[in-house]
Amino acid sequence: MRVPLLNPRTATGDVARFFEATALFRGRVPNSACTWAYVPDIAKFFLLAGTPLQREGAGGVLSCRIKEMAVLKTSHANSCNY
């Protein structure tokens, strides 16, 4: 890790609010959120942007299946294990 992962259990202020919102919205707090949380005012918008693109049901017109295939292909092309 390049920077320490922020801990949702000990965060306060804007960072804590971001973690709470993430947990409520996604049901979990992934490591990527624990990193984006260093800039919570931007992180909250990244979460918002990612949802309609990654998930079905948020107003997009593509199925989950197509999205997940695109995600896998892109991640393979970028050699991204995460």
Binding site: V3, G27, R28, Y38, D41, L53, A70, N78, C80, Y82
Partner: protein, 387 residues
């Protein structure tokens, strides 16, 4: 999947055969969304790899399956929460030192928001800490530049535009003719940005996606929205990455923002060359950021400890996270606009968009409030018969 591969590799713009194939299978709206998905993972992959994020335990990863479909009610509640918990003041970026264009104050213990140890409590109500100081305008701005593009900036934008393809791959939707959700998206975007750029006219094919994606672009690229990096540095990074990715649309926008921030002339010119990272026109901290930007763009940052070490000498953890996020986001926008061949706006429109590089936080709140107020009763669903 062929399209995804080419968007990821930033070659989609050149491949008519690949575009023809994807065009046969997907409508304009589906194509815009698909390109957005691929672009999003250009962000995620680069951010995660550059930060060397560890993969969660299997139990945590399994939870992803449970959240494959978004719950629109939860999404709306999330937006409402953003509005409800809007901070009273945003953190401020570094204040440039007077008298030296490009010089930046190195982090010092008294002002640096040091990386937050996992267990340390933070000042109540402040998150990472809030400074009330406003950002001073970069001292390079010339008299008479206020309110419009300089001749030099116009020329650079014209040069960038001349390399841009003329044919957008999906129609640019017209705000004057739009109705329903598309019209509402255009109205909100115009209030936020001051006008409607061509990229927004493309995203408008999927207005419910566009409206939620736009605040992220604004927050990460512009000053005033809660970031901790100065606007001038963001301009340099966006311009450099746009050169690396041969992205005329984003480059033209970076030049216009640079004009608003007083970052013009030789410094912007140098960014077109790989050797810019050695140029004395940039401070040591700017050079470190530009090297990092190059590696994030090329997705090689994860391999270069020395590069990260140099970055760490100049920036704290929050600044590094934002810088990496900005680099990753720029790669998304580059790929999206290249793949769909979004045309650059005329100089006058760019000038209207970037009269000031800073977005007032109230505009962003107002944008979110309008998104909430206009939340549709029913969101569109994908075509269940599509394979």
């Amino acid at each position: 999947m062929l399209w995804a591969e080419h968007v990821a590799r930033n070659t989609a713009g050149e491949r008519e055969d690949v575009f023809a194939e994807v065009r046969r299978e997907f409508s304009n709206a589906e194509l815009v969304e698909l390109t957005g998905v691929c672009g999003l993972f250009a962000v995620s992959n680069r951010f995660q790899d550059s930060m060397r994020l560890p993969i969660e335990e299997q139990g945590e990863v399994d939870k992803i399956r449970q959240s494959v479909r978004a719950d629109p009610k939860r999404l709306k509640a999330y937006v409402a929460r953003l509005v409800e918990h809007w901070p009273r003041a945003f953190p401020s970026p570094l204040i440039p030192l007077p008298g030296g264009e490009g010089s930046m104050k190195p982090p010092s213990p008294s002002r640096c928001r040091a990386s937050v140890p996992q267990c340390s409590p933070l000042p109540p109500g402040e998150g990472l800490g809030v400074r009330e100081a406003t950002v001073a305008r970069c001292p390079g701005r010339r008299a008479g530049d206020e309110g419009g593009l300089t001749g030099e900036s116009r020329q650079r934008i014209a040069d960038a535009t001349s390399t841009a393809p003329a044919d957008c791959r999906v129609p640019l939707l017209d705000p004057a003719l739009a109705t329903g959700d598309t019209a509402r998206f255009f109205a909100a975007a115009e209030r936020l940005l001051g006008s409607v750029p061509n990229a927004v006219r493309v995203w408008a094919h999927v207005p419910h996606v566009g409206k939620l994606v736009l605040p992220f672009f604004v927050a990460v690229e512009r000053a005033g929205c809660g970031g901790v990096l100065p606007a001038a540095l963001k301009v340099l990074v966006i311009a450099r990455i746009s050169h690396i990715n041969s992205a005329p649309y984003t480059l033209a926008h970076a030049l216009a923002v640079g004009n608003a921030e007083g970052v013009t002339g030789d410094r912007m010119e140098e960014l077109s060359a790989v050797q810019c990272v050695n140029s004395p026109r940039f401070s040591a901290s700017e050079r470190a950021a530009l090297v990092w930007a190059q590696h994030v763009a090329q997705n090689t940052a994860k391999h270069h400890d020395a590069v990260f070490g140099e970055l760490k000498r100049h920036y704290n953890d929050a600044e590094i996270v934002e810088l990496t996020g900005l680099c990753a986001e720029t790669n998304m926008v580059n790929r999206f606009c290249n793949a769909l061949r979004v045309p650059v706006e005329p100089a006058a429109e760019l000038s209207a968009l970037y009269g000031a590089s800073r977005i007032e936080p109230a505009r962003l709140t107002s944008y979110l409030e309008s998104v909430l107020a206009d939340w549709p009763r029913v969101l569109p669903v994908p075509d269940a018969t599509a394979t």
